[in-house]
Amino acid sequence: MSENGVSIVLETIAKALDLPADRLNEDSSMQNLPVWDSLGHLNILVALDKHYFGRIAKISELAKATSVREIAAILQRHGLL
């Protein structure tokens, strides 16, 4: 996974959660970030879908991916990173 790819995911998630990008890292997740709740997760999905031009909504496994690491891995598997 490229460093640039991960930083795009971090930036997109940070923006969706209304957090400064430096508050997030690859280990950030729904478990350790209170603002990443169910609404936050939907906001992340919307932001990713916008960033990847509507291709995210077809990747159903993202619904249950609740950490930066998991999301990045799924995006990579689908050739988006």
């Binding site: 939907l42 999905l45 993202l62 619904a63």
Partner: protein, 322 residues
């Protein structure tokens, strides 16, 4: 295009309502401002223990007769869309046929769909009217999902509400309904389900509603914009040709995501959730009726209707408002 038209809509809601404060009392740990930001819903309607979707739809249908727009003798079809029927059998539409004192020559049947049900109902009834098999139909859409909801389920309880609608449809020489675009993806059936509610599984008593919110959200984000695009292509129209978009009133976050993705100007989108909640297949007819009463929906306007949800199932159509 189908030679049929909507000739009237009425609806009925239970007397009991539930507010944000009621939710807080039962669930002190819930963050209500966050929940409201997601749902856009402040008040929901809760059916009484002995009140069913059929009762609500019966009340709505009686309002249609009281309005003088049609006589009981004219009705030759009653279609009931619900996922909370009175019984597994007999068909609840037959019971409604008796309660509404409709003529014996009337057809009556149920169909089991959730949030896409109203559009499917228009397609089914519209086709029967278009072919002149029937002349005047009552399409009843109602549900009492709150009976399936666990009071501590933060995903479902703040959203679902009970209600019933009655839509009068008539054969009409001028086409005012259509085209339609229907769709299904059964691979998502587990993401919105009342397990153990039928013959498969235990089949014992009422099960509990389970919703995988993020999965249903992704499905919506994928299917609905595509369906809108296909429908407009089929109709050879563009967004600008549509006066009002009336989506199933699922929740604020879902509606905003769809609207944003499609790039529809907000003034062309009807959002009517806050004081009623998500009444499943009844949201679209209730929203249409309230929009017409408020002067937001006017005769001759072209309206795009889009239902989507449990199944997964979705359907859209265009209607020229009479």
């Amino acid at each position: 295009m189908l030679k049929a038209r909507i000739a009237g809509i009425e609806y009925a809601l239970p007397l009991k309502t539930e507010s944000m404060e009621d939710l807080q009392r039962d669930n002190p740990d819930w963050d209500l401002p966050k929940i409201f930001a997601k749902t856009g819903i402040r008040r929901r309607y809760i059916s009484a223990p002995d009140q069913t979707a059929a009762d609500l739809c019966c009340e709505a249908a009686e309002k249609i007769f009281e309005s003088g727009r049609v006589s009981r003798e004219e009705i030759d079809g009653v279609l009931f869309c619900t996922q909370s029927p009175d019984y597994a059998l007999p068909t609840t539409a037959c019971i409604l046929h008796e309660r509404l004192k409709l003529p014996k020559r009337s057809a009556a049947f149920d169909f089991n769909l959730g949030c896409s049900g109203f559009v499917y109902g228009l397609a089914i009834a519209g086709s029967m009217l278009d072919s002149s098999l029937l002349r005047t139909v009552l399409l009843l859409c109602g549900d009492t999902y709150t009976k399936y909801v666990d009071p501590h389920d933060r995903t479902c309880r703040p959203i679902f509400s009970d209600g019933g609608s009655a839509t009068l449809l008539r054969h009409h020489p001028e086409s005012s309904m259509g085209p339609f675009q229907l769709g299904t993806d059964g691979s998502g059936y587990r993401n919105l389900i009342v397990a153990n509610s039928g013959v498969r599984g235990k089949g014992a008593g009422l099960g509990t509603l389970h919703m995988e919110g993020a999965s249903v959200f992704l499905f919506t984000m994928d299917a609905v914009p595509q369906c809108v695009d296909s429908l407009l292509k089929r109709a050879q129209l563009s967004m600008e040709d549509v006066d009002l978009f009336v989506f199933h009133q699922a929740s604020r976050v879902v509606l905003e995501a769809i609207v944003k993705k499609l790039g529809i100007p907000s003034e062309k989108v009807l959002i009517d959730l806050e004081s009623i909640g998500n009444t499943v297949s009844a949201t679209i007819p209730i929203a249409l009726k309230r929009a017409a009463e408020a002067g937001r929906l006017k005769s001759g306007q072209r309206v795009l209707l889009m239902g989507f949800g449990v199944g997964y199932s979705w359907g859209g159509c265009l209607v020229q408002w009479a």
